[in-house]
Symmetry: D2
Subunit: 113 residues, 4 copies
């Protein structure tokens, strides 16, 4: 898609800006790499169960995978607070309120899961 087709009332960087609000664009490759490794761990666990590996070794792998997932979650939350929530708060109003409530609920889910 070329930006030259953009309607005059649409700023050319509107799309990029919207993306920037989601905050993780700069680290996207890093997140994808970590999630691919986590996907590999899930596949590895299936191999261990198929081969009837020792339970404790499987549990060790699950603990490692859970930590890797938690670490991705904390990174995303960090990005979210630093971009999305921050921008909403800087703009103020009901949007700020809503973003903060939503972030608190996500944090509670992470702490309790």
């Amino acid at each position: 898609m070329t930006e030259t087709d953009a309607a005059p009332d649409t700023p050319p960087d509107a799309h990029a800006q919207e993306h920037a609000h989601h905050g993780y664009i700069s680290n996207q490759d890093n997140y994808l790499k970590r999630l691919r490794r986590i996907e590999g761990q899930a596949r590895g666990l299936q191999g261990m169960v198929s081969d009837e590996k020792y339970c404790i070794d499987i549990l060790t792998q699950i603990s490692a995978m859970t930590s890797a997932l938690q670490s991705v979650a904390l990174g995303l939350l960090d990005d979210h607070l630093n971009h999305c929530v921050r921008d909403a708060v800087a703009s103020g109003g009901a949007e700020a309120e809503a973003k903060l409530l939503e972030a608190s609920a996500a944090i509670a889910r992470l702490v309790r899961s």
Copy 2:
């Protein structure tokens, strides 16, 4: 492999027994199914990051995936206590000691991860 070749001092069901000790043989398909779903969740998360979906929605998915993983871990631990640890304790001796120590360490890793 035919059991007829088994040396006289090896009980014919030694291999089956060893597997039985790992405890999850009866639920193996169920564990594989759950782990395949978890692998699918890891792949889904990559799609969400690639498409720059909303952070909070990604975090919700990660919480669900973490709970699914924890549930698999608790199931495996349960099987392990009911088979491997139980058999070792019934036999007694140093093996029982070792299995209980190992199980405690695995539980601590799960609680802390």
Copy 3:
């Protein structure tokens, strides 16, 4: 200290405002009530151990106490985001950066503890 001595360039409500930044002033009594109950649970656990109550019952009490503590932590974090972090972000600058980093670190400690 009486507020009547306040220099003209210090708004009389500066102290109250600083407190308000800590965010939990309105719920202080509620937090104190919950923490007193948690203290009571810690004392109850000592009684259970002294009386050599059944381990599983003690563990159930510890799980309840941990959940109560987590809930206080999530409430305080919520207040902190809605007041301290929000005000810092609205003011902008290095303070906003510092508050967000600090909040992220506290969230990571909660998720991992």
Copy 4:
């Protein structure tokens, strides 16, 4: 109650033995010491809230207290597996089944709290 009244068919050490099954008798003082420290942390938190200390410092204290509680829980669970569950498994039968189920449920509560 004096042990001299014990019926002849009740071994005089039955009560002590039952206690020994609860497993933590040797470490009782250590557990009591740790729980008193946890109680002190709960009291300290009330002081911090009353004095309107900085939220993040309170959260750091709560994380430390949660870890201390978890550590007590893991110790008690360890003792429970090594005494109560072990004895029940060595005796076999329905009691072994029941103790293992109960231990699994307690572990699940710890992992999820």
